[in-house]
């Protein structure tokens, strides 16, 4: 009936025909833009698809392609949209490897059986690196930062806190800012690490509630929190160490302090178990390249005011100039397989009770 009704209206039909024709022309115009499997048939090689949220990924991918000749396509975005895309692709994965910060998403992907296991590149990891490798070798650390530690304005705060508990002192009331873990990628590892350090979820919730009562400000992401520090809304903030080190150069009054019990935030690579054998082999070469001397160099120069401020996990590696030694820091590592599955529940609680 519907078709008959429309067929009685030639003007509609005509306009539709035009639209369909334009759409067809569009498809012809985009003929060069075919998905990877189709391209693989044409050129006899599978391009490696890299999903990455690292600031240095463009430098790394360019250097890797130059060194190996393997065609590599980079899909560069924040961690959240990349993981959303992987989740949406679940019944037909299109990614080759994913390279983001934080063990927890990898633990989740591993639990779902999406990662290649028992692969380690033939490089020598240092003690820090070895401690970050999971027992089933389903993801590979490429460096580490600290999920959140303290940046403060020394012109306004003369005696900075040394522990998380000291943040509750009245003299710091209304001075502290942090990111929202629901929006900022590195902040859930910070919040879960804090809970782990304080003795569990309920003790962590109590602490955060008290922090809120002491005037905690919550912003979306590192950039917003740093902006609040710059504009004087707050005098100190707990954010990712690499962002702090990048910001130190911008203001001589800014200082970094490692609070006791900070949590490591490694950058990791996980390889898609359902990729073709060729692409898995390419992804393994990419991982080995990242951990090579040349690859580590790219990581150090690719994002000088952000992610490049990391601590290496391979023997013989040294951090970029300006990155303080990690050895004097009292840090912890948390079990991603325990804390990963709690992310949604804890973030929901944070949104309902700390942000609002």
């Amino acid at each position: 009936m519907l078709i008959r009704a429309l067929s009685k209206r030639p003007l509609l039909a005509s306009a539709t025909a035009v639209a369909v024709a334009v759409a067809t022309l569009t498809s012809v115009a985009f003929a060069t833009s075919q998905p990877r499997a189709a391209r693989a048939v044409q050129v006899g090689q599978v391009p490696l698809i890299v999903y990455s949220a690292q600031g240095y990924d463009m430098s790394e991918v360019a250097a890797f392609q130059k060194a190996t000749g393997i065609k590599t396509e980079l899909l560069c975005d924040s961690t959240g949209p990349l993981l959303a895309r992987i989740a949406a692709e679940r019944n037909n994965p299109q990614w080759g490897l994913i390279w983001v910060d934080g063990n927890q998403p990898f633990a989740e992907l591993d639990d779902e059986g999406l990662l290649v296991r028992h692969y380690l590149p033939s490089v020598k990891f240092n003690a820090l690196g070895k401690s970050l490798i999971p027992s089933d070798e389903s993801y590979i650390p490429t460096g580490t930062t600290i999920a959140a530690t303290l940046i403060y304005n020394s012109a306004k705060i003369k005696t900075p806190p040394k522990t998380f508990q000291q943040l509750l002192e009245p003299k710091y009331k209304g001075l502290l800012g942090m990111n929202n873990p629901s929006i900022s990628g590195p902040t859930y590892p910070y919040v879960s690490g804090l809970m782990n350090y304080l003795g569990g979820v309920s003790k962590g919730k109590t602490f955060l509630t008290e922090l809120k009562a002491n005037g905690l400000h919550v912003y979306d992401v590192n950039g917003d929190t740093l902006n609040a520090l710059q504009t004087g809304q707050i005098d100190m903030a707990t954010i990712q160490s690499s962002a702090i080190i990048g910001a130190l150069a911008s203001n001589p009054d800014y200082r970094l302090a490692f609070l006791k019990g900070v949590t490591l935030l490694p950058s990791d690579i996980g390889i898609d178990r359902y990729a073709s054998k060729t692409e898995i082999a390419e992804a393994e070469r990419f991982t080995a390249y990242v951990l090579s001397k040349a690859g580590q160099h790219q990581m150090k120069i690719g994002d000088p005011t952000g992610d490049s401020n990391f601590w290496p996990v391979v023997k013989g590696g040294s951090p970029k100039t300006g990155v303080p030694a990690l050895s004097s820091t009292h840090y912890q590592e948390i079990n991603p397989y325990t804390w990963g599955p709690k992310e949604s529940a804890i973030n929901d609680w944070f949104t309902a009770n700390i942000v609002n």
């Binding site: 078709i3 003007l11 539709t16 759409a23 396509e73 975005d77 993981l83 992310e343 949104t351």
Partner: protein
Amino acid sequence: MAKLTWAEARSAATAGRPLRLGALGGPALWVLFFLILLAPIAFFLLVAIMPAAADQGTAWFTLAPFIAALSGPTLQGLLDSLVLSVGTAILSLAVALVLAWLVQRTNLRGRGVWNLLVWVVLLTPSFLVALGWERLLQPEGVLADLGWPVSGLSHAFFSPLGVIFVDTTKGVPFAFLAISAALGALGREYEDAARIHGGGRAAALRMVLPILAPAMWSALAIVFAETISDFGVASTIASTSNFPVATMTLFNAVDNFPVNFPVAAAVGWLLVASIGLALFAQSRALRGRSYQVLSGRSRTSARIQLSRRGQSAGIGIMVLFFGLTLGVPAIAVASASLLKPAASAITLNTLTLSNYLALARHPSTLGPLGLSTALALIATTVAVVLGLVVARILTQRRSGTPARILDLLLLATVGLPGILLGAGYIFVYNLPALATVGLRLYGTLFLLDVAYLANSLPITARLLSGPMAQIQFGLHDAARVHGRNALGAWRTTVVPLLSRTLLWAWLFGFTGILFELPISQLLYPPGQEPLSVAITAAFANFSYAPGTTLMVTSVAYALTVVGLVLVGFRVLAPRGWQRVGVAR
């Protein structure tokens, strides 16, 4: 010769038309709607009750996602969104009526400028407006630096009131466009009739306002749907103002790991249901009446001559509105793009052009702008052609159930945040079954552009349907009687009457796609970043100033395109087209 009745003449005129296009075009249209809108949306919404269908869980039937969506912060977000959207729609309509009346029915000075500025507001990303106000009113923001006592204002702004305010500034242009086309095109005979029969200005207003009902309801529906699906304000002021809204809770479900598409889909259902209610209200209000008042006999209306005081007041209203909506964010954003890294105060020493120079030195950073331009050109052009067809279907009085289904489908698309439409596209067009038959669409620019089209079509059709409802198709039928073929009749009757609205709709679609983010993030092919992804990446890497610079450059570019198209219309379009709907 026997005199033909109108019906006989009409029948005779259409009897000999070629059936070929009708036979092919009708089904093609509905197949197209199915492929670009219904399948992805339906598949996505299905995930709420059948997560296993898209490999998003093991259950083949469950209501758990709805229970989760209707409890705790998600429920609060939904209720907040409803209050916010209704308030914003009503406020936007009220403001737009005043602005549109001033521009369309009076001799207010600078009408061309005000019209253009409405477009500038429309294409300014909502988060920029929010950002500008935040920068102005935050405790050590610009006003505080100048020594102004802003604490009270700041408190009011960082609250639901601030959210409604910024959403209204974004809603007014939608309402303005829906209203002003109708208001400008309305002949003066209705007002004259009221006045001749002894009515005063109030009586004339009482007569004209109901005639504008389709456009007003269209404005309310558009603003409601746009507000309830907005993410720019939700993710900025709303998230820091103790006012969680539905799009933010939905984003949390998708952005947190493990990604929870079923709960996001359940929130999607509830958003669609809200919009269904709005549509129901609109249809109840307009049922059974005809609003076809725009015809070839409509006389262009004479403008009301404002007194000197009236001129001052009118210009004052305009300056106030555009100052609040454009002046503040423009100053904030421009200052951000001109600031040296990490400068916290604006002084001569902290200003620099280095960000713009860097952009000029590395023209490759403008690559995403070129790509997005090409994609927007194609998708918008198709959306306008299809939008014209859809608007006609929606406004036919006897179009029945299919039209209502289509309307709901289109409004659902407006109401569903882009991230859900994008996910729906992945679910459908990344199905392994499609790959086995050689159809690999996911990961292509083609699919990204089709998704842009799907996202743009509903709002385009809504913008067109208000004015379309006012066209008397007797004009078209007369053209057919006199021998024009179907396309020719449309070209010489409907298209001229709608040409200005078509132009506006195209420009809006173009600028919207140029800055579209969530769909781009989920569907862009590796290595081919659209503009919005490039800007976001710059912000995410703490490159605040370069990101802002790219954004300012892109907005300036979009404005240039708008200007060129408007000038092109002035120069190239037939004079008659330009006169339709313009009061003298």
